[in-house]
């Protein structure tokens, strides 16, 4: 008989739920902790896996549908993995007035993706975000990794490309 098990290499790996056991234990009896739990979960996995939603539901006694409602309401939460470097390009007023759209276009072009996507090599995820609060350095972007977050500005399309190339080089991914 034909084997119908999915052999797709990109199948979502099973989530190691032991990683959030401590978080669930700490917050399970504190009312109103759902957002905090989701934030901790996202810090651990880089996103919120479906399996984790079910585990949170069980521990906190909140229906999965309601948890999904909260996740999708807030811009911060993600349901799919992101790249190693998260590029958050500011679309605040001061940045807009100082032509942030040109910077955003250069970043999309340099990475070969549009906002909300991740590069195929898994190095970069590019997102447009609301104000980062560094308005006098507009236009700015924040680059976040698991270890740190750094703000860059004032950017030009050229300097934005250079920053990305610098990271690529440091990651050993520059084959040119």
């Amino acid at each position: 008989m034909e084997d119908h098990t999915c052999q797709c290499p990109s199948a979502v790996p099973e989530t190691d739920l032991s990683l959030i056991a401590g978080v669930l234990d700490t917050y399970k009896d504190i009312p109103g902790s759902l957002i905090t739990v989701l934030q901790r979960t996202q810090t651990i996995y880089g996103y919120i896996p479906k399996d984790a939603v079910l585990a949170i539901s069980k521990a906190l006694g909140i229906r999965p549908a309601k948890i999904m409602g909260v996740i999708t309401f807030y811009a911060q939460f993600r349901l799919s993995p992101i790249g190693k470097h998260l590029l958050m390009v500011c679309q605040g007023t001061a940045c807009h007035v100082n032509s942030s759209e040109k910077v955003a276009a250069a970043i999309g072009d340099e990475l070969g993706i549009v906002a909300g996507e991740t590069t195929p090599d898994g190095l970069f995820t590019y997102e447009n975000v609301a104000c980062l609060g560094c308005c006098s350095m507009a236009p700015v972007m924040m680059i976040q990794t698991k270890e740190q977050s750094e703000v860059y500005g004032p950017l030009t399309p050229k300097s934005a490309r250079q920053i990305i190339r610098g990271i690529r080089k440091a990651e050993g991914g520059d084959k040119q």
Binding site: G32, I35, A75, Q76, T93, A130, C131, S136
Partner: protein
Amino acid sequence: MRFTVGMGSCGIAAGAQKTLDALKKALGERSSDIPVGQVGCIGMCFNEPIVEVITDTEHYYYSKVNEEMAEEIVASHLKDGLPAESYLIPEEDMDFLKKQTRVALRNCGVIDPEKIESYRERGGYEAITKVLKTMSPAEVVGEVKISGLRGRGGAGFPTWFKWDAAAKSEGDEKYVICNADEGDPGAFMDRSLLEGDPHAVMEGMMIAAYAIGAAKGVFYVRAEYPLAIKRLEKAIKQARTAGFLGEHILGTDFSFDLEIKAGAGAFVCGEETALIASLEGERGMPRLKPPFPAQKGYWQKPSNINNVETYGNIPWIFREGGEAFAAMGTENSKGTKVFALAGKVKRGGLAEVPMGMTIREIIYDIGGGIKDDKALKGVQMGGPSGGCIPERLIDTPVDYENITAAGAIMGSGGMIVMDETTCMVDMARFFMDFTQKESCGKCVHCRIGTKRMLEILDRIVNGEGRDGDIELLEELGRGIIDGSLCGLGQSAPNPALSTIAQFREEYDAHIRDKKCPAHKCKPLLTYAIDPEKCTGCNACAKKCPAEAIHGEKKKPHEIDAAFCVKCGSCESACRFGAVLVD
């Protein structure tokens, strides 16, 4: 002698960490007796990274200090005992500070925000000590009333009134909440205050807690402000160790503790009932008021919610007296207000001024005027909830009533300066795009109305505007204002309505003439070459990505409009000003 480096988010973005490391390295062995400390943002963001050298007699400020400059500055002070003149912040830039009156920002850029001792040296925690030892809760509310302080987050509601209502509400448990969900794109005073002087905001909350009878306080901080959260966490720990948080503070019956909850990225959570829903782990959707949070707030208990800057003013008011605060400002708007100056202004940053100063003074005397000396077109105040004040009204004094009369709102104090190259229709579209995305979806008018308004603005900036679009925008705007529950919806149409009121001719130009006077809206632009000025150098043709420019060498070139993608490369490539944009 000691050194300090501005280590706010903006300073760090400009490379302050490298500067600080370079200073320490240059000082070498001397760093044991010449400390290098970190301070928050002094507000002169345009000069970051800023290094201050404090000697027994003088303060020297250095601007845009990189690693090499740091070495030279250290050498100059150590060897010659003289400042490195050429790197000092120019005298006229110091006007940025001199024209200010700093109350809320009194410690920002002065103290080390990660050291409680640094705060206490500047009189920190004296106010709560005085309050606990000598005043009754009712007297505290009375003092705030004398000060005339109004909410700094947007609506300008009298602070004492909120405190009084929460104090009079019956309840075994009460809460004080700090709204640090600074969502207005273009405002960053709350970030700066939390990063630069976290203890002051905490002390303000303690005083509020004593006044209303609360034992617990919560910070609701935007997730986009990780440094502010980190510094608050440190400050709370230090205050607990020092005995300013916990049981029986300073040996009195007053017990109080604080926790931090990070927001998750939703602008509507700046609205107080939405904020409470979010604190409780729910979708941040506003609800009908009454009951007000002062009656039924966090967990249905009486709660007092104020903005960061409001709390930041409180310790000063109790140290210097409510009357001293009320002595500043105008009749109905007392004290000072912090403005976040950004956009097309020469010196962008945070400026705190007495209420009643004119917009012109803030932009020109403090901000140094318009970038590249272009012409001022207007100032957006109040962000996506506010409006645009046109150039002809910039002698308006800044206070709650006058700003409202001029067609904007005070809001949290964001001041975005716009020049002749800013398209007002594009700005209206920008804000509508923002509020449309941030609408929580509860009220139909806000959810769908903002979408329809955005679609209309989209077609106008794309050159597909129709007759009657302006009237349609106005009609939808009125509907959204009437049909929305919370401040987000009720104010969402403001940027569009205020630009229609003040800059209607720009809308007409887009819709009727298919022209963008500010040359911002790409689909409406045409590029051409002035044959009189063109030298035929071919520079533009080389840069053109669409190969739309043709011509013989040393003869005037031409742009083929059918192929032009309106990228503007030719305009920036031309050294003779021969590319005409219309």
